[in-house]
Amino acid sequence: MNKKLKVKFSSQRELLSVYIAFVVIVFINIFLDKNFLSINRLAIILTTAAPLVLAAMGQMLVILTGGIDLSVGNAVALIACVSAFVMPSMGLTVGIVACLLSGIIIGLVNGLIITYGKVPAIIVTLSMQLFWHGVALLIMPRPGGSVSSAFFAWVNGGSTTWAGATVILLGLIFWKLLKNTSLGTAIYAVGNNEKAAYASGLSTDKIRVMAYVLSGIFGALAGLMLSGITGSGDPNVGATYTMNSVASVIIGGASFLGGKGKMRGTVLGALFITLLLNVLFFSGLSSFYQYLLQGAILIIAVGLKSFGDKRKV
Protein backbone atom coordinates (compact mmCIF):
# COMPACT_ATOMS: atom_id res chain seq x y z
CA MET A 1 0.00 0.00 0.00
CA ASN A 2 2.88 2.26 0.88
CA LYS A 3 4.34 1.70 -2.56
CA LYS A 4 1.07 2.52 -4.24
CA LEU A 5 0.86 5.76 -2.30
CA LYS A 6 4.39 6.67 -3.31
CA VAL A 7 3.63 6.09 -6.97
CA LYS A 8 0.53 8.23 -6.71
CA PHE A 9 2.49 11.02 -5.07
CA SER A 10 5.36 10.98 -7.54
CA SER A 11 2.97 11.20 -10.48
CA GLN A 12 1.47 14.27 -8.85
CA ARG A 13 4.75 15.92 -7.96
CA GLU A 14 5.02 17.98 -11.11
CA LEU A 15 1.56 19.30 -10.23
CA LEU A 16 2.42 20.03 -6.61
CA SER A 17 3.55 23.61 -7.16
CA VAL A 18 0.48 24.50 -9.20
CA TYR A 19 -1.82 22.92 -6.57
CA ILE A 20 -0.17 24.98 -3.83
CA ALA A 21 -0.19 28.17 -5.90
CA PHE A 22 -3.84 27.65 -6.78
CA VAL A 23 -4.94 27.08 -3.19
CA VAL A 24 -2.98 30.12 -1.99
CA ILE A 25 -4.46 32.39 -4.66
CA VAL A 26 -7.99 31.11 -3.90
CA PHE A 27 -7.52 31.92 -0.20
CA ILE A 28 -6.20 35.39 -1.00
CA ASN A 29 -9.25 35.92 -3.21
CA ILE A 30 -11.64 34.78 -0.48
CA PHE A 31 -9.88 37.07 1.98
CA LEU A 32 -10.10 40.13 -0.28
CA ASP A 33 -13.51 39.53 -1.81
CA LYS A 34 -16.26 38.53 0.61
CA ASN A 35 -18.56 37.43 -2.22
CA PHE A 36 -15.91 35.28 -3.90
CA LEU A 37 -17.63 32.00 -3.10
CA SER A 38 -21.04 33.07 -4.40
CA ILE A 39 -22.29 31.30 -7.52
CA ASN A 40 -22.54 34.62 -9.28
CA ARG A 41 -18.92 35.62 -8.74
CA LEU A 42 -17.56 32.18 -9.56
CA ALA A 43 -19.57 32.19 -12.78
CA ILE A 44 -18.12 35.55 -13.76
CA ILE A 45 -14.58 34.42 -12.97
CA LEU A 46 -15.02 31.22 -14.95
CA THR A 47 -16.32 33.21 -17.91
CA THR A 48 -13.45 35.71 -17.67
CA ALA A 49 -10.98 32.85 -17.51
CA ALA A 50 -12.55 31.01 -20.47
CA PRO A 51 -10.48 32.49 -23.34
CA LEU A 52 -7.19 31.94 -21.53
CA VAL A 53 -8.11 28.42 -20.39
CA LEU A 54 -9.01 27.46 -23.97
CA ALA A 55 -5.95 29.13 -25.49
CA ALA A 56 -3.75 27.41 -22.91
CA MET A 57 -5.24 23.99 -23.79
CA GLY A 58 -4.30 24.61 -27.42
CA GLN A 59 -0.84 25.79 -26.42
CA MET A 60 -0.41 22.67 -24.29
CA LEU A 61 -1.11 20.35 -27.24
CA VAL A 62 1.63 22.07 -29.23
CA ILE A 63 4.10 22.11 -26.34
CA LEU A 64 3.41 18.40 -25.75
CA THR A 65 4.73 17.66 -29.24
CA GLY A 66 7.88 19.62 -28.43
CA GLY A 67 6.83 22.74 -30.35
CA ILE A 68 5.60 26.15 -29.29
CA ASP A 69 2.98 28.51 -30.69
CA LEU A 70 3.94 32.15 -30.28
CA SER A 71 1.17 33.19 -32.71
CA VAL A 72 -1.70 31.95 -30.54
CA GLY A 73 -2.41 35.41 -29.09
CA ASN A 74 -2.83 37.08 -32.46
CA ALA A 75 -4.78 34.06 -33.74
CA VAL A 76 -7.25 34.49 -30.84
CA ALA A 77 -7.56 38.20 -31.63
CA LEU A 78 -8.08 37.41 -35.32
CA ILE A 79 -10.86 34.91 -34.55
CA ALA A 80 -12.58 37.40 -32.24
CA CYS A 81 -12.51 39.86 -35.16
CA VAL A 82 -13.90 37.21 -37.54
CA SER A 83 -16.69 36.52 -35.06
CA ALA A 84 -17.60 40.20 -34.57
CA PHE A 85 -17.34 40.79 -38.33
CA VAL A 86 -19.42 37.84 -39.56
CA MET A 87 -22.13 37.62 -36.89
CA PRO A 88 -23.90 40.97 -37.45
CA SER A 89 -24.59 40.25 -41.12
CA MET A 90 -24.81 36.47 -41.31
CA GLY A 91 -25.98 35.34 -37.93
CA LEU A 92 -24.77 33.16 -35.11
CA THR A 93 -24.41 29.79 -36.83
CA VAL A 94 -22.44 31.06 -39.80
CA GLY A 95 -20.33 33.09 -37.36
CA ILE A 96 -19.41 30.06 -35.28
CA VAL A 97 -18.69 27.97 -38.37
CA ALA A 98 -16.53 30.77 -39.80
CA CYS A 99 -14.57 30.99 -36.55
CA LEU A 100 -13.97 27.25 -36.33
CA LEU A 101 -12.94 27.13 -40.00
CA SER A 102 -10.52 30.03 -39.47
CA GLY A 103 -9.08 28.19 -36.48
CA ILE A 104 -8.56 25.04 -38.53
CA ILE A 105 -6.91 27.03 -41.33
CA ILE A 106 -4.62 28.84 -38.89
CA GLY A 107 -3.57 25.56 -37.27
CA LEU A 108 -3.11 23.87 -40.64
CA VAL A 109 -0.93 26.68 -42.02
CA ASN A 110 1.25 26.79 -38.89
CA GLY A 111 1.48 23.01 -38.72
CA LEU A 112 2.26 22.44 -42.40
CA ILE A 113 5.01 25.08 -42.53
CA ILE A 114 6.60 23.77 -39.33
CA THR A 115 6.32 20.07 -40.17
CA TYR A 116 6.80 19.85 -43.92
CA GLY A 117 8.72 23.12 -44.35
CA LYS A 118 11.07 21.88 -41.61
CA VAL A 119 11.47 25.36 -40.13
CA PRO A 120 11.59 25.43 -36.31
CA ALA A 121 8.32 26.24 -34.55
CA ILE A 122 9.67 29.23 -32.60
CA ILE A 123 10.68 31.16 -35.69
CA VAL A 124 7.65 30.16 -37.82
CA THR A 125 5.09 31.16 -35.20
CA LEU A 126 7.05 34.33 -34.39
CA SER A 127 6.74 35.34 -38.06
CA MET A 128 3.17 34.10 -38.40
CA GLN A 129 1.98 36.25 -35.50
CA LEU A 130 2.74 39.24 -37.70
CA PHE A 131 0.76 37.65 -40.53
CA TRP A 132 -2.32 36.85 -38.41
CA HIS A 133 -2.25 40.33 -36.89
CA GLY A 134 -2.20 41.74 -40.41
CA VAL A 135 -5.20 39.64 -41.43
CA ALA A 136 -7.06 40.75 -38.28
CA LEU A 137 -6.32 44.39 -39.16
CA LEU A 138 -7.53 43.75 -42.70
CA ILE A 139 -10.88 42.46 -41.41
CA MET A 140 -11.20 45.08 -38.71
CA PRO A 141 -8.86 48.09 -38.97
CA ARG A 142 -10.06 49.37 -35.61
CA PRO A 143 -11.84 47.67 -32.70
CA GLY A 144 -15.56 47.27 -33.34
CA GLY A 145 -18.20 44.99 -34.80
CA SER A 146 -20.70 43.15 -32.69
CA VAL A 147 -21.83 39.63 -31.85
CA SER A 148 -25.38 38.28 -31.96
CA SER A 149 -27.33 39.38 -28.88
CA ALA A 150 -28.32 35.81 -28.06
CA PHE A 151 -24.65 34.81 -27.99
CA PHE A 152 -23.72 37.82 -25.85
CA ALA A 153 -26.47 36.96 -23.34
CA TRP A 154 -25.43 33.30 -23.39
CA VAL A 155 -21.82 34.14 -22.51
CA ASN A 156 -22.58 36.86 -19.97
CA GLY A 157 -25.63 35.16 -18.47
CA GLY A 158 -24.64 35.79 -14.87
CA SER A 159 -25.56 32.94 -12.56
CA THR A 160 -26.80 30.68 -15.35
CA THR A 161 -23.27 30.20 -16.49
CA TRP A 162 -23.54 28.38 -19.79
CA ALA A 163 -20.19 29.67 -20.91
CA GLY A 164 -18.46 28.41 -17.78
CA ALA A 165 -20.21 25.05 -18.06
CA THR A 166 -19.12 24.79 -21.69
CA VAL A 167 -15.51 25.42 -20.75
CA ILE A 168 -15.70 22.68 -18.13
CA LEU A 169 -17.28 20.36 -20.68
CA LEU A 170 -14.61 21.18 -23.26
CA GLY A 171 -11.97 20.57 -20.60
CA LEU A 172 -13.40 17.12 -19.96
CA ILE A 173 -13.52 16.31 -23.67
CA PHE A 174 -9.96 17.50 -24.07
CA TRP A 175 -8.89 15.42 -21.07
CA LYS A 176 -10.49 12.29 -22.53
CA LEU A 177 -8.96 13.06 -25.90
CA LEU A 178 -5.47 13.23 -24.46
CA LYS A 179 -5.86 10.33 -22.13
CA ASN A 180 -7.93 7.73 -23.92
CA THR A 181 -7.56 8.16 -27.67
CA SER A 182 -4.75 6.92 -29.84
CA LEU A 183 -4.18 10.49 -31.06
CA GLY A 184 -3.61 11.65 -27.48
CA THR A 185 -1.11 8.88 -26.81
CA ALA A 186 0.58 9.59 -30.13
CA ILE A 187 0.98 13.30 -29.28
CA TYR A 188 2.74 12.39 -26.04
CA ALA A 189 4.88 9.84 -27.90
CA VAL A 190 6.01 12.36 -30.54
CA GLY A 191 6.99 14.83 -27.82
CA ASN A 192 8.77 12.22 -25.75
CA ASN A 193 10.91 10.66 -28.42
CA GLU A 194 10.11 11.40 -32.01
CA LYS A 195 12.53 8.85 -33.46
CA ALA A 196 11.12 6.07 -31.30
CA ALA A 197 7.58 7.10 -32.20
CA TYR A 198 8.47 7.04 -35.91
CA ALA A 199 10.25 3.73 -35.58
CA SER A 200 7.22 2.17 -33.91
CA GLY A 201 5.11 3.06 -36.92
CA LEU A 202 3.47 6.36 -36.04
CA SER A 203 3.29 8.90 -38.84
CA THR A 204 4.85 11.60 -36.71
CA ASP A 205 4.43 14.35 -39.31
CA LYS A 206 0.67 13.86 -39.51
CA ILE A 207 0.36 13.75 -35.73
CA ARG A 208 2.28 16.98 -35.39
CA VAL A 209 0.06 18.73 -37.95
CA MET A 210 -3.01 17.34 -36.15
CA ALA A 211 -1.75 18.84 -32.88
CA TYR A 212 -1.48 22.27 -34.51
CA VAL A 213 -4.94 21.94 -36.10
CA LEU A 214 -6.48 20.97 -32.75
CA SER A 215 -4.64 23.86 -31.16
CA GLY A 216 -6.12 26.12 -33.85
CA ILE A 217 -9.61 24.87 -32.97
CA PHE A 218 -9.04 25.66 -29.31
CA GLY A 219 -7.75 29.07 -30.36
CA ALA A 220 -11.00 29.53 -32.31
CA LEU A 221 -13.08 28.64 -29.27
CA ALA A 222 -11.01 31.07 -27.19
CA GLY A 223 -11.56 33.82 -29.78
CA LEU A 224 -15.30 33.11 -29.86
CA MET A 225 -15.50 33.37 -26.07
CA LEU A 226 -13.46 36.57 -26.13
CA SER A 227 -15.78 38.17 -28.68
CA GLY A 228 -18.76 36.98 -26.61
CA ILE A 229 -17.40 38.54 -23.42
CA THR A 230 -16.54 41.92 -24.94
CA GLY A 231 -19.33 41.91 -27.53
CA SER A 232 -16.85 43.09 -30.17
CA GLY A 233 -13.55 42.35 -31.87
CA ASP A 234 -10.20 44.02 -31.24
CA PRO A 235 -7.20 43.15 -33.45
CA ASN A 236 -4.72 44.34 -30.82
CA VAL A 237 -5.59 42.27 -27.72
CA GLY A 238 -3.53 39.26 -28.76
CA ALA A 239 -0.11 39.77 -27.18
CA THR A 240 -1.15 38.98 -23.61
CA TYR A 241 -2.64 35.62 -24.59
CA THR A 242 0.63 34.35 -26.06
CA MET A 243 2.68 34.93 -22.94
CA ASN A 244 -0.15 33.92 -20.58
CA SER A 245 -0.93 30.69 -22.41
CA VAL A 246 2.71 29.58 -22.34
CA ALA A 247 2.92 30.59 -18.67
CA SER A 248 -0.28 28.61 -17.86
CA VAL A 249 1.10 25.45 -19.44
CA ILE A 250 4.49 25.73 -17.76
CA ILE A 251 3.15 26.77 -14.33
CA GLY A 252 0.78 23.81 -14.78
CA GLY A 253 3.75 21.47 -14.68
CA ALA A 254 4.19 20.51 -18.35
CA SER A 255 7.70 20.06 -19.68
CA PHE A 256 8.85 22.74 -22.09
CA LEU A 257 10.66 20.05 -24.06
CA GLY A 258 7.45 18.16 -24.76
CA GLY A 259 6.05 14.76 -23.90
CA LYS A 260 5.11 15.56 -20.33
CA GLY A 261 2.16 17.46 -18.93
CA LYS A 262 -1.33 17.09 -17.56
CA MET A 263 -4.51 18.79 -18.61
CA ARG A 264 -5.61 19.70 -15.08
CA GLY A 265 -2.28 21.39 -14.49
CA THR A 266 -2.77 23.62 -17.51
CA VAL A 267 -6.35 24.49 -16.54
CA LEU A 268 -5.29 25.31 -12.98
CA GLY A 269 -2.38 27.34 -14.35
CA ALA A 270 -4.74 29.42 -16.48
CA LEU A 271 -7.20 29.85 -13.59
CA PHE A 272 -4.29 30.86 -11.37
CA ILE A 273 -3.30 33.67 -13.73
CA THR A 274 -6.91 34.87 -13.97
CA LEU A 275 -7.27 34.85 -10.18
CA LEU A 276 -3.97 36.71 -9.84
CA LEU A 277 -5.45 39.51 -11.94
CA ASN A 278 -8.55 39.37 -9.76
CA VAL A 279 -6.40 39.89 -6.65
CA LEU A 280 -4.74 42.95 -8.18
CA PHE A 281 -8.17 44.33 -9.01
CA PHE A 282 -9.60 43.80 -5.53
CA SER A 283 -6.54 44.93 -3.60
CA GLY A 284 -6.46 48.18 -5.53
CA LEU A 285 -2.88 47.62 -6.68
CA SER A 286 -1.84 48.88 -10.08
CA SER A 287 -2.47 46.33 -12.82
CA PHE A 288 1.15 46.99 -13.80
CA TYR A 289 2.08 44.55 -11.02
CA GLN A 290 0.60 41.80 -13.17
CA TYR A 291 3.65 41.60 -15.45
CA LEU A 292 6.06 41.77 -12.55
CA LEU A 293 4.30 39.03 -10.60
CA GLN A 294 3.78 36.80 -13.62
CA GLY A 295 7.48 36.88 -14.46
CA ALA A 296 8.47 36.18 -10.87
CA ILE A 297 5.95 33.35 -10.55
CA LEU A 298 7.12 31.75 -13.80
CA ILE A 299 10.72 31.75 -12.54
CA ILE A 300 9.72 30.39 -9.12
CA ALA A 301 7.41 27.70 -10.52
CA VAL A 302 9.86 26.39 -13.11
CA GLY A 303 12.81 26.84 -10.77
CA LEU A 304 11.15 24.78 -8.02
CA LYS A 305 10.29 22.07 -10.52
CA SER A 306 13.84 21.78 -11.77
CA PHE A 307 15.09 21.52 -8.19
CA GLY A 308 12.64 18.69 -7.65
CA ASP A 309 13.84 16.96 -10.81
CA LYS A 310 17.46 17.29 -9.77
CA ARG A 311 16.82 15.69 -6.42
CA LYS A 312 15.13 12.77 -8.12
CA VAL A 313 18.14 12.01 -10.29
Partner: protein, 321 residues
Protein backbone atom coordinates in the same frame (compact mmCIF):
# COMPACT_ATOMS: atom_id res chain seq x y z
CA UNK B 1 46.83 24.15 -61.38
CA UNK B 2 45.53 26.31 -64.16
CA UNK B 3 44.21 29.73 -63.52
CA UNK B 4 40.60 28.86 -64.42
CA UNK B 5 40.38 25.88 -62.07
CA UNK B 6 41.54 28.01 -59.11
CA UNK B 7 38.85 30.46 -60.04
CA UNK B 8 36.09 27.84 -60.19
CA UNK B 9 37.26 26.31 -56.90
CA UNK B 10 36.97 29.67 -55.17
CA UNK B 11 33.54 30.17 -56.63
CA UNK B 12 32.45 26.78 -55.35
CA UNK B 13 33.75 27.66 -51.91
CA UNK B 14 31.86 30.92 -51.89
CA UNK B 15 28.59 29.32 -53.01
CA UNK B 16 28.93 26.60 -50.40
CA UNK B 17 29.66 28.99 -47.52
CA UNK B 18 26.90 29.45 -44.96
CA UNK B 19 26.50 33.17 -45.60
CA UNK B 20 26.17 32.94 -49.38
CA UNK B 21 22.36 32.47 -49.49
CA UNK B 22 21.60 35.46 -47.30
CA UNK B 23 23.85 37.81 -49.26
CA UNK B 24 22.46 36.46 -52.54
CA UNK B 25 18.95 37.13 -51.19
CA UNK B 26 19.94 40.62 -50.09
CA UNK B 27 21.31 41.49 -53.54
CA UNK B 28 18.27 40.07 -55.35
CA UNK B 29 15.96 41.89 -52.94
CA UNK B 30 17.84 45.16 -53.45
CA UNK B 31 17.64 44.82 -57.25
CA UNK B 32 13.91 44.03 -57.15
CA UNK B 33 13.17 46.88 -54.75
CA UNK B 34 15.28 49.29 -56.82
CA UNK B 35 13.30 48.38 -59.93
CA UNK B 36 9.99 48.89 -58.13
CA UNK B 37 11.13 52.00 -56.28
CA UNK B 38 13.90 53.76 -58.23
CA UNK B 39 14.74 55.92 -55.19
CA UNK B 40 16.42 52.89 -53.62
CA UNK B 41 19.19 52.83 -56.22
CA UNK B 42 21.24 55.67 -54.77
CA UNK B 43 24.18 55.95 -52.38
CA UNK B 44 22.22 58.27 -50.11
CA UNK B 45 19.47 55.69 -49.79
CA UNK B 46 21.95 52.91 -49.06
CA UNK B 47 23.47 54.98 -46.26
CA UNK B 48 19.99 55.76 -44.93
CA UNK B 49 19.09 52.07 -44.85
CA UNK B 50 22.36 51.21 -43.09
CA UNK B 51 21.69 54.02 -40.61
CA UNK B 52 18.24 52.60 -39.77
CA UNK B 53 19.64 49.06 -39.63
CA UNK B 54 22.52 49.87 -37.30
CA UNK B 55 20.40 49.70 -34.13
CA UNK B 56 18.81 46.38 -35.07
CA UNK B 57 22.19 45.15 -36.30
CA UNK B 58 23.77 45.71 -32.89
CA UNK B 59 20.95 43.96 -31.00
CA UNK B 60 21.02 41.08 -33.48
CA UNK B 61 24.77 40.51 -32.91
CA UNK B 62 24.13 39.75 -29.24
CA UNK B 63 21.15 37.62 -30.19
CA UNK B 64 23.33 35.66 -32.64
CA UNK B 65 25.84 34.88 -29.92
CA UNK B 66 23.12 33.57 -27.60
CA UNK B 67 21.45 31.53 -30.35
CA UNK B 68 24.79 30.04 -31.44
CA UNK B 69 25.16 28.83 -27.88
CA UNK B 70 21.83 27.05 -28.18
CA UNK B 71 19.81 29.62 -26.25
CA UNK B 72 17.52 32.49 -27.16
CA UNK B 73 17.06 35.94 -25.64
CA UNK B 74 13.52 37.30 -25.98
CA UNK B 75 14.20 39.90 -23.27
CA UNK B 76 16.29 42.12 -25.60
CA UNK B 77 13.23 44.26 -26.32
CA UNK B 78 12.73 44.92 -22.60
CA UNK B 79 16.43 45.59 -22.07
CA UNK B 80 16.39 48.10 -24.90
CA UNK B 81 13.38 49.95 -23.45
CA UNK B 82 15.03 49.83 -20.02
CA UNK B 83 18.22 51.25 -21.50
CA UNK B 84 16.49 54.24 -23.10
CA UNK B 85 14.75 55.02 -19.82
CA UNK B 86 17.76 54.64 -17.54
CA UNK B 87 19.83 56.80 -19.87
CA UNK B 88 17.10 59.45 -20.05
CA UNK B 89 16.62 59.44 -16.28
CA UNK B 90 20.36 59.68 -15.58
CA UNK B 91 20.82 62.55 -18.02
CA UNK B 92 17.80 64.32 -16.55
CA UNK B 93 19.51 63.98 -13.16
CA UNK B 94 22.47 65.96 -14.56
CA UNK B 95 24.91 63.07 -14.58
CA UNK B 96 27.58 63.66 -17.26
CA UNK B 97 26.28 62.03 -20.47
CA UNK B 98 29.35 59.86 -21.07
CA UNK B 99 29.12 58.43 -17.56
CA UNK B 100 25.36 58.01 -17.96
CA UNK B 101 25.86 55.92 -21.10
CA UNK B 102 28.46 53.69 -19.43
CA UNK B 103 26.28 53.25 -16.34
CA UNK B 104 23.26 52.40 -18.50
CA UNK B 105 25.09 49.70 -20.44
CA UNK B 106 26.50 48.30 -17.18
CA UNK B 107 23.00 48.19 -15.66
CA UNK B 108 21.67 46.43 -18.74
CA UNK B 109 24.35 43.76 -18.62
CA UNK B 110 23.12 42.97 -15.10
CA UNK B 111 19.87 41.83 -16.73
CA UNK B 112 21.99 39.41 -18.73
CA UNK B 113 23.50 38.14 -15.47
CA UNK B 114 19.99 37.62 -14.11
CA UNK B 115 18.98 35.66 -17.23
CA UNK B 116 22.11 33.53 -17.03
CA UNK B 117 21.65 32.77 -13.31
CA UNK B 118 18.12 31.45 -13.93
CA UNK B 119 19.25 29.39 -16.90
CA UNK B 120 22.31 27.95 -15.14
CA UNK B 121 21.21 27.43 -11.55
CA UNK B 122 17.44 27.01 -11.85
CA UNK B 123 17.79 25.17 -15.17
CA UNK B 124 14.94 27.13 -16.72
CA UNK B 125 14.69 26.87 -20.51
CA UNK B 126 16.25 30.06 -22.00
CA UNK B 127 13.04 30.95 -23.84
CA UNK B 128 11.02 30.82 -20.59
CA UNK B 129 13.64 32.52 -18.44
CA UNK B 130 14.08 35.45 -20.80
CA UNK B 131 10.30 35.65 -21.28
CA UNK B 132 9.87 35.91 -17.49
CA UNK B 133 12.64 38.53 -17.32
CA UNK B 134 10.92 40.51 -20.08
CA UNK B 135 7.68 40.42 -18.12
CA UNK B 136 9.45 41.61 -14.96
CA UNK B 137 11.24 44.44 -16.81
CA UNK B 138 8.03 45.60 -18.49
CA UNK B 139 6.07 45.54 -15.22
CA UNK B 140 8.81 47.37 -13.34
CA UNK B 141 9.12 50.04 -16.02
CA UNK B 142 5.37 50.64 -16.05
CA UNK B 143 5.37 50.91 -12.24
CA UNK B 144 8.46 53.12 -12.07
CA UNK B 145 7.36 55.55 -14.78
CA UNK B 146 3.62 55.24 -14.22
CA UNK B 147 3.26 55.15 -17.99
CA UNK B 148 5.01 58.53 -18.41
CA UNK B 149 8.62 57.71 -19.24
CA UNK B 150 11.35 60.35 -18.92
CA UNK B 151 12.91 61.95 -21.98
CA UNK B 152 16.23 63.65 -22.43
CA UNK B 153 18.28 65.38 -25.06
CA UNK B 154 21.99 65.99 -25.02
CA UNK B 155 24.79 66.38 -27.49
CA UNK B 156 26.26 62.94 -26.90
CA UNK B 157 22.95 61.16 -27.55
CA UNK B 158 22.42 63.27 -30.65
CA UNK B 159 25.90 62.36 -31.83
CA UNK B 160 25.29 58.63 -31.30
CA UNK B 161 21.92 58.69 -33.04
CA UNK B 162 22.32 61.29 -35.75
CA UNK B 163 25.99 62.26 -35.91
CA UNK B 164 27.85 61.80 -39.20
CA UNK B 165 31.55 61.39 -39.80
CA UNK B 166 32.70 63.73 -42.59
CA UNK B 167 29.04 64.57 -43.10
CA UNK B 168 28.39 61.26 -44.84
CA UNK B 169 28.81 58.14 -42.72
CA UNK B 170 26.56 57.92 -39.65
CA UNK B 171 28.30 57.36 -36.31
CA UNK B 172 25.84 54.58 -35.47
CA UNK B 173 26.90 52.67 -38.60
CA UNK B 174 30.57 53.01 -37.61
CA UNK B 175 29.75 51.69 -34.12
CA UNK B 176 27.82 48.81 -35.69
CA UNK B 177 30.74 47.91 -37.97
CA UNK B 178 33.17 48.02 -35.04
CA UNK B 179 30.82 45.71 -33.10
CA UNK B 180 30.62 43.35 -36.11
CA UNK B 181 34.41 43.28 -36.33
CA UNK B 182 34.75 42.52 -32.62
CA UNK B 183 32.14 39.76 -32.79
CA UNK B 184 33.77 38.32 -35.90
CA UNK B 185 37.16 38.21 -34.20
CA UNK B 186 35.65 36.77 -31.01
CA UNK B 187 33.69 34.06 -32.80
CA UNK B 188 35.99 33.13 -35.68
CA UNK B 189 39.54 33.96 -34.60
CA UNK B 190 39.42 33.16 -30.91
CA UNK B 191 39.11 30.24 -28.52
CA UNK B 192 35.97 31.87 -27.14
CA UNK B 193 34.26 31.31 -30.49
CA UNK B 194 35.33 27.69 -30.68
CA UNK B 195 33.89 27.10 -27.23
CA UNK B 196 30.63 28.83 -28.19
CA UNK B 197 30.19 26.70 -31.31
CA UNK B 198 31.17 23.53 -29.43
CA UNK B 199 28.74 24.18 -26.61
CA UNK B 200 26.00 25.04 -29.09
CA UNK B 201 26.44 21.70 -30.84
CA UNK B 202 26.69 19.60 -27.70
CA UNK B 203 26.65 21.18 -24.25
CA UNK B 204 27.28 17.95 -22.38
CA UNK B 205 30.26 16.91 -24.51
CA UNK B 206 31.77 20.39 -24.21
CA UNK B 207 31.30 20.35 -20.45
CA UNK B 208 32.93 16.93 -20.18
CA UNK B 209 35.88 18.06 -22.29
CA UNK B 210 36.63 20.78 -19.78
CA UNK B 211 34.85 23.83 -21.13
CA UNK B 212 33.26 25.91 -18.40
CA UNK B 213 29.87 26.03 -20.09
CA UNK B 214 28.27 27.98 -17.24
CA UNK B 215 30.80 30.79 -17.55
CA UNK B 216 30.22 30.80 -21.29
CA UNK B 217 26.44 31.08 -20.81
CA UNK B 218 26.95 33.97 -18.38
CA UNK B 219 29.21 35.81 -20.84
CA UNK B 220 26.86 35.28 -23.78
CA UNK B 221 23.74 36.58 -22.03
CA UNK B 222 25.69 39.49 -20.53
CA UNK B 223 26.98 40.45 -23.96
CA UNK B 224 23.52 40.13 -25.47
CA UNK B 225 22.03 42.41 -22.80
CA UNK B 226 24.94 44.86 -23.11
CA UNK B 227 24.47 45.07 -26.89
CA UNK B 228 20.74 45.71 -26.40
CA UNK B 229 21.71 48.37 -23.84
CA UNK B 230 24.11 50.03 -26.28
CA UNK B 231 21.52 49.94 -29.05
CA UNK B 232 18.97 51.43 -26.64
CA UNK B 233 21.18 54.43 -25.83
CA UNK B 234 21.85 55.02 -29.53
CA UNK B 235 18.19 54.61 -30.40
CA UNK B 236 17.23 57.15 -27.72
CA UNK B 237 19.45 59.64 -29.56
CA UNK B 238 17.96 58.64 -32.90
CA UNK B 239 14.29 58.86 -31.91
CA UNK B 240 14.73 61.75 -29.49
CA UNK B 241 12.42 60.50 -26.74
CA UNK B 242 11.36 57.30 -25.00
CA UNK B 243 8.09 55.45 -24.82
CA UNK B 244 6.98 52.27 -23.14
CA UNK B 245 7.14 49.94 -26.19
CA UNK B 246 10.16 51.49 -27.86
CA UNK B 247 12.13 48.22 -27.87
CA UNK B 248 9.30 45.81 -28.75
CA UNK B 249 9.93 45.42 -32.52
CA UNK B 250 13.56 44.52 -31.83
CA UNK B 251 12.60 41.25 -30.14
CA UNK B 252 11.18 39.55 -33.21
CA UNK B 253 13.45 41.39 -35.63
CA UNK B 254 16.68 40.40 -33.88
CA UNK B 255 15.70 36.73 -33.84
CA UNK B 256 14.52 36.81 -37.46
CA UNK B 257 17.67 38.64 -38.59
CA UNK B 258 19.79 35.96 -36.94
CA UNK B 259 17.90 33.05 -38.50
CA UNK B 260 17.71 34.73 -41.93
CA UNK B 261 21.46 35.23 -41.61
CA UNK B 262 21.94 31.47 -41.65
CA UNK B 263 22.29 30.76 -37.93
CA UNK B 264 20.49 27.59 -36.84
CA UNK B 265 17.97 28.38 -34.12
CA UNK B 266 19.04 25.22 -32.26
CA UNK B 267 22.58 26.57 -32.06
CA UNK B 268 26.06 25.52 -33.10
CA UNK B 269 25.87 26.59 -36.71
CA UNK B 270 25.96 30.08 -38.16
CA UNK B 271 27.88 33.27 -38.45
CA UNK B 272 27.62 36.84 -37.22
CA UNK B 273 28.48 38.13 -40.72
CA UNK B 274 25.25 36.55 -42.01
CA UNK B 275 23.27 38.33 -39.31
CA UNK B 276 24.41 41.67 -40.74
CA UNK B 277 22.68 40.87 -44.05
CA UNK B 278 19.68 39.39 -42.22
CA UNK B 279 19.14 42.68 -40.39
CA UNK B 280 19.50 44.70 -43.60
CA UNK B 281 16.94 42.46 -45.36
CA UNK B 282 14.36 43.12 -42.64
CA UNK B 283 14.87 46.89 -42.74
CA UNK B 284 14.78 46.99 -46.57
CA UNK B 285 11.53 44.99 -46.63
CA UNK B 286 9.94 47.22 -44.02
CA UNK B 287 11.19 50.42 -45.67
CA UNK B 288 9.98 49.36 -49.10
CA UNK B 289 6.53 48.41 -47.79
CA UNK B 290 6.33 51.74 -45.96
CA UNK B 291 7.19 53.71 -49.08
CA UNK B 292 4.63 51.80 -51.17
CA UNK B 293 1.96 53.58 -49.15
CA UNK B 294 0.15 50.43 -48.03
CA UNK B 295 -2.00 50.03 -44.96
CA UNK B 296 -0.57 48.48 -41.81
CA UNK B 297 -2.62 45.33 -42.48
CA UNK B 298 -1.11 44.74 -45.94
CA UNK B 299 2.38 45.58 -44.64
CA UNK B 300 2.18 42.99 -41.85
CA UNK B 301 0.69 40.31 -44.11
CA UNK B 302 3.37 40.84 -46.79
CA UNK B 303 6.12 40.99 -44.17
CA UNK B 304 4.93 37.69 -42.70
CA UNK B 305 4.68 36.02 -46.12
CA UNK B 306 8.09 37.30 -47.24
CA UNK B 307 9.88 36.23 -44.07
CA UNK B 308 8.27 32.79 -44.13
CA UNK B 309 9.21 32.41 -47.83
CA UNK B 310 12.82 33.36 -47.10
CA UNK B 311 12.88 30.90 -44.20
CA UNK B 312 11.44 28.14 -46.39
CA UNK B 313 13.94 29.01 -49.12
CA UNK B 314 17.04 28.42 -47.06
CA UNK B 315 16.64 28.26 -43.29
CA UNK B 316 15.26 24.71 -43.26
CA UNK B 317 16.62 22.37 -40.64
CA UNK B 318 17.98 19.08 -41.82
CA UNK B 319 15.99 16.58 -39.85
CA UNK B 320 17.53 13.20 -39.19
CA UNK B 321 15.49 10.14 -38.78
Amino acid sequence: MSHSSVHSLNLKKIVKSSIFPVYACLIVLWVVVSILLPSFASTGRIIDVLHTTSFLGIVALGQTLVILLGGIDVSVSGVMTLSTMIAAALIQANIPPALAVVLTIAACSLIGVFNALGIIYLQIAPMLMTMATLSIIEGSLLLATNGNPPSAHCELLDFLGHGKIAGIIPVSVILWLIAVLIFYLLLNKNKFGLKIYGTGINTRASFLSGIETNKLTLKAYMLSAAMAGLAGVMYLGYIGNTYINIGTPFQMDSITATVLGGTAIIGGRGNCIGTVAGAIIIVVLRDALNIMNTTQAIREILMGVLIISLLLAYAREKKER
